[in-house]
C-alpha cells in the first residue's frame, strides 16, 4: 500500500476537519477526492502531504510518516506561491534547487504542451499561472501526486489542457489524488471516487462500476451529497 489512513481525525479550533477516516491508497491509481466546500478534501490532502498532523489516528505514506517522506510526495495546493517577477525559467531554477526529482526536460515539454507563455507571472492570466504551477508539479518524478483543486477558478481551455497533461504524464505506477469541484470535466480520469461529507467518508467506489450501473460520478455526487 502506497498510503494508508487509519482512523484519522483532524480537529481545528472550532470545527472538525476530518472525523475517523480510514482509507487505503494502492500504487497506480487515479483517485477523485470529491465533496462540497468544507467537506475536508483539502485537509485530507494536506495531511497526506505532511503539511498537517492528525489529531488522532495514523497516516503512513511509503511506509513512514508523511513528513519524513515529503521529498517523495508532490503536493499542489490552492495557494498561488509564484512570485510576480518569476518567469518559467526562474520557476525551473527554483524547483531544481528544491527537489532532487525535478526533471527539467519534462518541465520544458510540459510548458510546451500546456502552452505556458515564457514571461513574468505578473503578466499571466490566472489560467496561465495555473498551467505553470501544474507543469512545476508534474515535472517531478514522484510516486504520489496530491493535486488540490488544480482546476479552480481558471478558464475552460486551461482546465482541458491541465486534464490532458495529467493523463499524458501519468504512469501506471504513480498514484494521483485530485480534488476538484469540476467533477463532470474530470471524472473520466478517475478510476476511483471518494466522496467526503462533513469530514466523514460518504462513499468510496470504482468509477467504472458506477457507470456499469448507468450512473456517472456526477450523478452519484448529487445522490450522495445533496
Amino acid at each position: 500500500m502506497l498510503a494508508k489512513l487509519e482512523h484519522v481525525t483532524k480537529r481545528y479550533v472550532k470545527n472538525e476537519g476530518l472525523r475517523d477516516l480510514t482509507l487505503d491508497f494502492p500504487s497506480g491509481e487515479v483517485v477523485g477526492m470529491l465533496g462540497l466546500n468544507g467537506s475536508g478534501k483539502s485537509t485530507l490532502l494536506k495531511l497526506m502531504a505532511g503539511l498537517l498532523t492528525p489529531t488522532d489516528g495514523h497516516i503512513t505514506v511509503f511506509g513512514g510518516k508523511p513528513r519524513t517522506n515529503r521529498a517523495q510526495i508532490v503536493f499542489l495546493g490552492e495557494t498561488d506561491v509564484l512570485w510576480p517577477w518569476m518567469t518559467p525559467a526562474d520557476a525551473e531554477r527554483f524547483m531544481r534547487n528544491l527537489y532532487a526529482d525535478f526533471d527539467a526536460k519534462r518541465f520544458t515539454e510540459l510548458l510546451d504542451a500546456l502552452e505556458v507563455p515564457r514571461r513574468k507571472t505578473k503578466t499571466m492570466s490566472k489560467g496561465e499561472r495555473g498551467r505553470l504551477r501544474l507543469a512545476m508539479a508534474l515535472a517531478r518524478n514522484a510516486k504520489l501526486y496530491l493535486l488540490d483543486e488544480p482546476l479552480a477558478g481558471i478558464d475552460l481551455i486551461s482546465r482541458e489542457k491541465i486534464l490532458s497533461s495529467i493523463v499524458q504524464e501519468w504512469h501506471t505506477d504513480e498514484t494521483i489524488v485530485l480534488s476538484t469541484h469540476e467533477v463532470a470535466e474530470a471524472e473520466g480520469l478517475f478510476e476511483r471516487a471518494i466522496y467526503l461529507r462533513e469530514g466523514r467518508l460518504a462513499l468510496d467506489v470504482s468509477a467504472e462500476s458506477l457507470r456499469e450501473g448507468g450512473k456517472s460520478v456526477v450523478d452519484t455526487f448529487r445522490e450522495v451529497l445533496a
Binding site: Q168, W170, T172, A186, G188, E208, E212, G214
Partner: protein, 126 residues
C-alpha cells in the same frame, strides 16, 4: 480521422467508458471512417485527447483485440486487423439498435408496417 475528437462520443451516464470507446471504434468502422490496416493512436495519446484514464483505453483496446477487431504489432502500435469483420458490422449494429425499437413496438402492439411508417417519418425529418 480517428484523432479528430468529434469522431468520439462519450457519455459518462451511459455505461462504462471502455465499452463506449470500443463501440465508437465499431461505429467508425461501420461507416468507413476507419478501415482495415489503419493505425490507432496510442492508449496514452487517445486518453489524453479524450481526457479519460489511460487504463480505460487499454481496457477498450484489449476488448477490441479479443473480438478480432484490432491487433497490436510489436514496436509499431495498434492497428485495425486486415480481416476485421467490417462487412457485417453496420448491419449488426443496426440490428442491435432495431432490437430496442422492436421491443417498444411490440409493447404497443404495433404492426411492422406501423413501425416502418413511424421510422420513415422520423428518418425523413432527420
Amino acid at each position: 480521422m480517428i484523432n479528430d475528437t468529434s469522431n468520439w462520443s462519450i457519455d459518462m451516464s451511459a455505461g462504462p467508458i471502455f465499452e463506449q470507446i470500443a463501440k465508437n471504434v465499431h461505429q467508425m468502422l461501420a461507416r468507413g471512417a476507419l478501415k482495415p490496416g489503419d493505425k490507432l493512436p496510442s492508449a496514452r495519446d487517445l486518453a489524453s485527447k479524450l481526457r479519460v484514464n489511460a487504463n480505460t483505453i487499454v481496457h477498450a483496446y484489449n476488448e477490441l483485440e479479443a473480438h478480432g477487431v484490432i491487433e497490436k504489432r510489436r514496436g509499431l502500435g495498434t492497428f485495425i486487423r486486415e480481416d476485421a469483420p467490417v462487412d457485417g458490422m453496420k448491419h449488426e449494429m443496426l440490428q442491435q439498435a432495431a432490437n430496442a425499437y422492436a421491443d417498444e413496438g411490440l409493447q404497443l402492439d404495433a404492426s411492422i408496417q406501423e413501425a416502418i411508417t413511424a421510422l420513415k417519418e422520423v428518418w425523413d425529418v432527420g
